[in-house]
């Protein structure tokens, strides 16, 4: 009962901090915090796929692109309310995730990583090909732009909702099925878990999360969607965030999201190396260090600390 209470308490404390925070922050910092929320949602989604069912994806930037463009195009062409576009992105990307998940059933490990990497590279090219509807490299501008406070409020509310969804999905039968698949597909099948159903479902859910994150990403970029915003690096950032967070657990996700979301701004003051390159170098060094020294990520660290306290 106690660990449950502790977890609940921590969640409540974090929620309270997040609710009060924006009133102490300038608009610019609110936007930054909103960006952390965006990464929070996409890392959560990737964690469900890679951490809980063991399917590697280096292509979630592609789903973010789909979600982002959905928002921009719906807003530009139909003046749809932005929150409604987020829901549309959720469902559209869920379907896309299912579509990708089906052939992915035949791939595993490294092969799946390769295929999703190729997805990440190719999807941003599509708006360039179909530039009449999707803006080409002139991009798509949504009809409405939002204030920093709006962005903060909606991002973190969405993050809370997504977290709740993830928690509900993962604690039930589905979650147990996912974990069984990750640990041993053979054993899972033998125990009656329908692999194709759950693996594809995981892809769908994970893609849906990334789609919502993509929506928020575009809304945060002044409502402007353009292919160069969704380069390969974005997919890599999500993967790195998930690794730092600790695959297979929900608790480290906020640390992973803060790391990926805030590092670019912090590293612009890196003394020797300087802005953009500093960001890449720090990213690379930290993720390699985490994998070598702390492979279970931040969540693993928490777990270890909890265990050592329990023993003491």
């Amino acid at each position: 009962m106690r660990p449950r209470l502790a977890a609940l308490g921590t969640t409540a404390a974090v929620a309270l901090v997040l609710a009060v925070l924006p009133f102490g922050l300038s608009g610019y910092h609110q936007a930054l915090a909103a960006q952390v929320a965006t990464f929070f949602i996409s890392i959560l989604g990737l964690n469900i796929l890679t951490g809980y069912t063991g399917q590697i994806s280096i292509g979630h930037g592609a789903f973010m692109a789909i979600g982002g463009y959905t928002t921009a195009v719906l807003s530009r062409d139909h003046h749809t309310d932005l929150v409604v576009t987020m829901a549309a992105a959720f469902f559209l990307c869920f379907l896309c995730g299912l579509v990708v998940g089906l052939p992915a059933l035949r791939l595993s490990g490294v092969y799946l990583a390769l295929a999703t990497f190729a997805l990440a590279v190719s999807v941003p090219q599509i708006p360039l090909k179909f530039s009449n509807y999707l803006g080409g490299s002139g991009g798509v501008q949504s009809a409405k732009t939002v204030s920093h406070l709006w962005l903060y409020a909606v991002s973190w509310s969405a993050a809370a909702v997504m977290f709740a969804v993830a928690w509900l999905v993962l604690r039930g039968r589905t979650g147990r099925a996912f974990r069984a698949i990750r640990d041993s597909e053979v054993a899972a099948t033998s125990s009656g878990v329908a692999l194709p159903v759950y693996k594809t479902l995981a892809f769908g859910i994970s893609a849906a999360f990334a789609g919502v994150a993509g929506s928020l990403f575009v809304i945060g970029t002044n409502g402007f969607a353009q292919p160069s915003e969704f380069g390969v690096l974005l997919s890599l950032q999500i993967l790195i965030g998930a690794a730092v967070a600790g695959l297979g657990s929900l608790w480290g996700v906020i640390v992973g999201a803060a790391f990926v979301g805030l590092l670019p701004t912090i590293s612009s003051d890196v003394p020797v190396i300087g802005s953009s390159h500093g960001q890449d170098v720090v990213f690379g060094v930290i993720v390699i260090a985490v994998m070598l020294v702390l492979p279970t990520g931040f969540a693993g660290l928490l777990h270890r600390l909890a265990r050592s306290r329990a023993r003491a």
């Binding site: 280096i58 035949r106 590279v121 090219q125 054993a187 033998s190 690096l233 390159h277 060094v285």
Partner: protein, 331 residues
């Protein structure tokens, strides 16, 4: 939790080579006939051959690493790019192009070995995901380091083979392309000879195939894996140095498109087949050009998605590629 899969037998079925050989023969005949019929076809084929050998040698580097350590090195392209920048720096310090070329190769070799020993070995036995993440981190790290040291703007390197163009009929063949083909194929053949005829090569093959038995036979498995990475890095450096002249400028994004084509080539040929990697590379180079020329829907934006489609098709239909061996696991 008991992993039943490990307890169950793995049956390896040797696939008859004939359908694939027939397919290749048919493709060759198609190409020759096409070249004789149309000069633009021939031009595209020659251009595709030159770009294809570069894809093939990067693919071969990927295959080498995969065979040795069952790892896909996402940083292969960036490692190659870093080696090209090292050559660039040597040239800035006064080396001639070819001197820089031959000094860069052992540097690349050592770099590959060092990366394997320090970064890959500790995580290799954990999980596929861990290694993927480390190589991805390496990708970003190398990108940042190169851009920091040399800047991300356009740099110029002297062209290794000069600018002469030969005309065969109405097809123009640059000396550069001929040189690229010769150097790359030469490196590949040299590596093949190393693997086939030397004790070191034998040791490396043994370490990749049956590490436990090899170690009992006196092979230092750890060293062999490091050497494998070193050779792959060397091969990548050659690919990078040959790719740069075709782009006319040097910038950190040099190898990024080539990496995707390299992956597609490696998968097409079979991730465990060196010959397949090279043939796959050439095939992709040539057919990408021909499809771009004759299929109007496939404009330049769709080149990379097209390679992706090839990758996906192969992975779905025959994941072990043209030359790979099919592994059947019965549960």
């Amino acid at each position: 939790m008991v992993d039943l899969a490990r307890r169950l037998p793995i049956r390896q079925q040797r696939l008859p080579a004939s359908p694939v050989i027939l397919l290749l023969a048919a493709a060759c005949i198609f190409l020759v006939v096409g070249c004789l019929q149309s000069s633009i076809f021939a031009q595209q084929t020659v251009a595709g051959l030159a770009t294809g050998v570069v894809y093939g040698s990067l693919a071969l580097a990927l295959v080498l690493i995969y065979r040795a350590t069952e790892v896909i090195n996402f940083a292969q392209g960036e490692m190659a790019m870093a080696c090209v920048y090292i050559a660039y720096q040597l040239i800035q310090w006064g080396f001639s192009y070819w001197a820089a070329f031959f000094v860069t190769l052992p540097i690349a070799f050592l770099l590959g070995m060092a990366i394997e020993a320090t970064l890959i070995r500790p995580v290799q036995h954990r999980s596929v995901i861990a290694v993927v993440i480390v190589t991805v981190g390496l990708f970003i790290l190398i990108d940042g380091l190169v851009a920091w040291k040399w800047g991300a703007d356009i740099k110029f390197m002297p062209s290794p083979f000069g600018n002469r163009i030969y005309h065969v009929g109405s097809v123009a063949i640059a000396r550069q392309d001929i040189g690229t083909i010769i150097i790359t194929l030469f490196t590949v053949v040299l590596l093949w000879a190393l693997f086939r005829f030397t004790k070191l090569g034998l040791g490396m093959r043994a370490a990749a195939l049956r590490p436990a038995a090899a170690s009992l036979a006196g092979v230092r498995v750890d060293w062999m894996l490091a050497v494998g990475w070193g050779l792959a890095a060397l091969l990548g450096a050659v690919a990078g140095l040959m790719a740069e002249p075709s782009q006319f400028v040097l910038q950190p994004t040099l190898m990024q498109p080539i990496l995707l084509y390299g992956f597609a080539a490696a998968v097409l040929g079979g991730l465990e087949s060196p010959a397949g990697a090279v043939i796959g590379g050439v095939a992709i180079g040539i057919f990408l050009n021909l499809v771009g020329q004759y299929v109007h829907f496939v404009t330049s934006e769709l080149r990379q998605p097209f390679a992706f489609a090839v990758l996906l098709a192969v992975l779905l239909v025959k994941p072990t590629g043209l030359f790979g061996r099919r592994r059947i696991r019965k549960v």
